[in-house]
């Protein structure tokens, strides 16, 4: 009986320790590691109202249709990138016009 109790107590302790370890992040589900995401250090609170990735489809939706939609959304942002670059170029090339009177 005594040894049985010891076994039970040991198992309970192990379960508790495992739970603490998991809670503290020492035990993580191993999954695809290639695209492990790291939370950016500065995130605007407004991103809480949209999916964190910014994609129009759910992060778990890997269907062909979803990826077509996601690609289109990325293309729109790339177009915006071109516009931003042009605005930056313009702001750096701004020259004062000479004044004469």
């Amino acid at each position: 009986m005594g040894s049985s109790i010891k076994w039970v107590v040991s198992i309970i302790v192990i379960i508790i320790l495992a739970g603490v370890a998991w809670k503290m992040g020492y035990l993580k589900m191993s999954g695809p590691t290639g695209m492990a995401t790291t939370t950016p250090s500065i995130i605007a609170t407004t991103t809480e109202t949209v999916p964190s990735s910014g994609l129009p489809t759910a992060d778990t939706d890997t269907s062909d249709a979803a990826m077509v939609q996601d690609s289109a959304a990325i293309d729109a942002q790339i177009q915006g990138m071109n516009s931003d670059q042009a605005s930056l170029d313009q702001s750096m090339s701004d020259k004062p016009v000479t004044q004469s009177y």
Binding site: A36, I42, L55, D64, M81, S87, S91, D94, P96, Q99
Partner: protein, 279 residues
């Protein structure tokens, strides 16, 4: 190539394509409401003897022309700054603190220019007008900092946004490739594209961060040639970094196309994966 090696390659996509756009403390630009007569003038000394003989209380045609031209310059800069404020409001990957700092500096410039314009428009004294018009040039030195500083931040924010979107899509593609490989498809080429995507995202992120870091501590040169040279160099470096980041993302987008095209030839495996995920 063995399935095991391919799986390793699929799993080794560069991680950490995270965006770190710090809430840097922008140099608070003082709204220039006072005329700065000591600023390095970039306007030619075009005052003629004839003009000095004109009554100082009457706006001569030359003065009116100078006022009109000054107004034109001020309006142009105010329009650019208002456009910048609109763009700052669209930024999504930076902190509220950073956005607030950028908006505050930009709005401060608009206020200063608006005040200066009113002063110029109301002026009838030639000497005062000359000083005020020179202020358009001196205030330009702050515009020359605030405008590109805001634009670099906006560009970096956009790069961050695209990076995160591509990272998320890359994760989806990785799952699809793993499933396709499990189903017996050869994913070698697609896996290589996936790795390339990861590398490009990582570099884009690094470049965007460097751009922000480079322009964050800059201050208005106020006519100081040395400070101006430092600022110009920093902005040129940031501009180059952002162009490289953009190029990285364009290349990454092509990698995505390669992978999606490859997956389309593995339709049976993809359909099975989709079915599994919807259960």
């Amino acid at each position: 190539m063995s399935n095991q090696n391919v799986m390793k390659r699929v799993g080794v996509m560069v991680a950490g394509a995270a965006v770190l756009v710090p809430a840097f403390a922008l140099a608070q630009v003082q709204a220039q409401t006072n005329v700065d007569v000591t600023a390095q003038a970039q306007t030619p000394a075009a005052t003629t003897a004839a003009q000095t003989n004109v009554s100082a209380t009457v706006a001569t045609p030359a003065m009116k022309a100078a006022i009109a031209k000054a107004d034109q310059e001020i309006d142009r800069r105010i329009a650019a700054l208002n456009d910048l404020i609109g763009r700052i409001g669209q930024m999504t990957r930076v902190s509220a603190t950073l956005k607030q700092g950028l908006t505050s500096n930009t709005q401060g410039q608009i206020t200063a220019l608006t005040t200066l314009k009113a002063k110029i428009d109301a002026g009838t004294d030639l000497a005062t007008l000359k000083t005020d018009v020179q202020s358009v040039t001196s205030s330009y030195r702050t515009f020359a900092l605030v405008a590109p500083q805001g634009r670099v931040s906006a560009s970096a924010d956009r790069v961050a946004n695209v990076t995160i979107m591509m990272q998320a899509l890359g994760a989806k593609l990785q799952l699809r490739l793993q499933a396709a490989q499990t189903a017996g498809n050869d994913v070698t080429a697609a896996a290589a594209a996936l790795n390339d995507l990861g590398a490009n995202l990582s570099d884009a992120n690094t470049r965007a961060q460097a751009a922000i870091n480079g322009i964050a501590p800059l201050t208005p040169d106020n006519g100081d040639a040395t400070v101006k040279a430092t600022n110009d160099k920093a902005f040129k470096t940031a501009q180059a970094d952002l162009k490289t980041a953009q190029s990285d993302l364009v290349t990454g987008r092509k990698d995505i196309d390669v992978i999606i095209k490859a997956l389309s030839t593995m339709h049976a495996a993809a359909a099975a994966t989709t079915t599994t995920q919807t259960q």
